[in-house]
Amino acid sequence: MFSFELLLDAVVIGVLLGCFYAAVSLGLSIAFGLLDVPHVAHPAFLVLAAYAVYFLNEYYGVDPLLAGLMITPLFFLFGLVAYRLYYETFEKRGSDAGVRGIAFFFGIAFIIEVLIILQFGVDQRSVTADYVGKAWRLGDMRIPFRLVVAFVVAVGLTVLLTLYLSRTFMGRAIRAVAQDQEALRLMGANPIRIKQWAFGIATAVLGIAGALLIIVAPVEPTLDRAYIGRTFCVVVMAGLGSMSGTLVAAIILGVAETVVLTLFGASWAPAISFAMLLGVLAVRPQGLFGRRS
């Protein structure tokens, strides 16, 4: 049942969906890609942000994107505290910090899940906005507005983060700490404070990403589990720590998923994305855009 029209449609939707995947993975690209923090609670933070956006939208009528912006400073602070806690209890203590760190972040993810259930119950929630539920007509093609919003926001976020990491002093310091923590220490800078700041930024990005999550589809407390695989897949495939690489990898993943879903059968979609990840790791272990170390 192949048709060129369907393929074109799938590619367009795939690019938009990929941009959405990029938006929800950018934070992890900083936390895991640059800082080496095994942040498996990243999707749980994301769902928490989505619920915060839901709260502001449902009870105060705030536009979801604006609500996402509003919670960004709070999430920045939350990130600072979370990293400090992680550093003091795990990272400081030595070599097996990675494995124990995973346990720490899994624990945090479960706590967040339970807190959301206690506060909002287990039912799924969604937001209302003018751009949710409508589509843009392009000839025979119809493109959901919510995906266009995700596209614009994701591209904007990628550009902003790339500029921040390359043009500002703090941004360069973050990249420096990713490359050689000891060297930075010898220069008299405190790598831990820089990492804490970077983790704050990674978490702040989730404010907006959480807004996109609930704009694109309804959320429920355990939704984070569906995103652990996808976000790590995007970050690893991109090459750890590359922002524009994250966007491109996410788009590749989105297009692959949608094309397979539309043309070959939906059950193959998740297998294809992870097969691609394996393929990339086999050919370029450093990821598509990663530097060889």
């Binding site: 369907l6 939707i13 039912d123 969604s126 119809r142 949608t258």
Partner: protein, 413 residues
């Protein structure tokens, strides 16, 4: 010596009396696991609240066999891997007297060999065909599904009467949805319908625009969807955004989630025109003795417990499970599992969801599933679903409250 024996006898008799009095005061324990977290929790919590309302009612009436009724409940996290251990604990540590099954097919399926081996009665809770291969003769599934194919045939019959000749099947890649899709395929063949699109999507699917675009290209007359709550919402949104084509006469069938209050509230007008299965609706023919009183109590308690405020789908069936076991224990006069099973198998039970009779495989003898069409639904208003006419019953004939509006695009307006 004689005197001493007499004294000993008196003391022993007194102790025995005390012991049996103590036993009489011990509650009757009903054990179960129920999803309180995870994907099935929305349904699990409502179901449990229905059972709790029954427990409080029966205890207010003085309990059963002169003993209070107590529920022993554990969270199975919606997972099939949790339930066998929980039920072993219920039997060996908590020593419960009666077992109720957890909500839904997936957590119940792995329990069946255990309860069969232990010779325990099990009251099922909305499972679909979990006993078909195990053949446990003390299984009583309190779910209105009835014979395996009745679900799909009721929907496809409606479609055929509306002039449908081709069918598209879209089903989640999970046990329950796949069972529905399988029966739909069989029924379609029987009715001489052509399946023009048949896809299973993985449970983690985020975006349905692509799938629906492909479905639309196949130009089906009938679209049968077997989906789970998060996907149902995603599918309806995508239908609204990209359309489904003018030739579709009937859309829906087996979408889980469209029975839950908050989901219906969130989807609002997107629901219009969808024909979907249901188990209880506030239409006049669905009220039986005690139904109204039950919903009055449930509605009050659901708000406090942050549980589905409508609770139509599962809660009354939870209460009805209690009513059945209550009638059985009263009639048999003991907790003997075999005797209770015999009573449940051979009698018709009057409950708030109607009269229930079981067939030999432990399923309802007659299907009680209704197919209803959403009409005139507005956005963001949960209270509207409490009035009749919002979900018009098209099937079965004895409960019918209106006719199908077709094609689907016309019904959506």
């Amino acid at each position: 010596m004689k005197r001493r024996t007499l004294l000993g006898g008196t003391v022993a008799a007194a102790l025995l009396g005390l012991a049996s009095a103590a036993l009489a005061q011990q509650p009757i324990k009903i054990g179960m696991s129920m999803a309180q977290t995870g994907g099935l929790a929305g349904g699990g919590k409502a179901s449990l609240l229905g059972i709790e309302v029954w427990r409080d009612d029966v205890n207010a009436r003085g309990g059963l066999l002169g003993r209070k009724v107590e529920l022993v409940v554990y969270d199975d996290k919606s997972s099939a891997s949790e339930t066998p251990a929980i039920y072993s604990k219920l039997l060996d540590v908590d020593k419960v007297d009666i077992l109720f099954a957890p909500y839904a097919t997936v957590p119940t399926a792995p329990l069946m060999p255990l309860v069969k081996q232990r010779g325990m009665l099990l009251i099922g809770n909305f499972s679909f065909q979990v006993n078909s291969k195990v053949g446990h003769d003390m299984w009583f599934n309190n779910a209105p599904w009835g014979p395996a194919d009745s679900w799909a045939s009721s929907f496809l019959d409606l479609g055929q009467k509306a002039g449908g000749k081709t069918i598209a099947l879209l089903a989640a890649d999970q046990e329950f949805a796949q069972n529905l899709a399988k029966t739909a395929r069989e029924v379609a063949t029987k009715l001489g319908m052509q399946v023009v699109f048949d896809q299973a999507y993985p449970p983690s699917t985020v975006e349905f625009s692509g799938i629906l675009r492909a479905l639309k290209a196949a130009k089906p007359d009938i679209v049968y969807v077997a989906s789970y709550p998060p996907d149902s919402a995603g599918i309806l949104r995508a239908v609204n955004e990209i359309g489904i084509g003018d030739n579709v006469k009937l859309f829906g069938g087996g979408m889980v989630g469209l029975q839950f209050g908050t989901v219906m509230e969130n989807l609002g007008s997107l629901l219009n025109g969808v024909v979907n299965y249901n188990t209880w609706l506030p239409e006049p023919a669905m009220y039986h003795e005690g139904t109204k009183a039950f919903f009055e109590t449930y509605t009050k308690r659901a708000v406090e417990a942050k549980v589905d405020p409508l609770g139509y789908y599962l809660a009354p069936y939870g209460y009805a499970s209690g009513q059945m076991i209550e009638q059985a224990i009263k009639a048999v006069g003991s907790l003997d599992q075999k005797a209770l099973a015999k009573y449940l198998r051979e009698n018709t039970h009057k409950t708030i969801v109607g009269s229930i009779t079981f067939s030999a495989d432990g399923e309802w003898k007659e299907s009680g599933v209704v197919q209803a069409q959403f009409r005139g639904i507005k956005d963001k208003n949960i209270e509207q679903f409490r009035s009749p006419g919002k979900q018009v019953i098209l099937f079965p004939a004895k409960l019918k409250s209106g006719d199908l509006i077709t094609p689907f695009e016309a019904a959506r307006k």
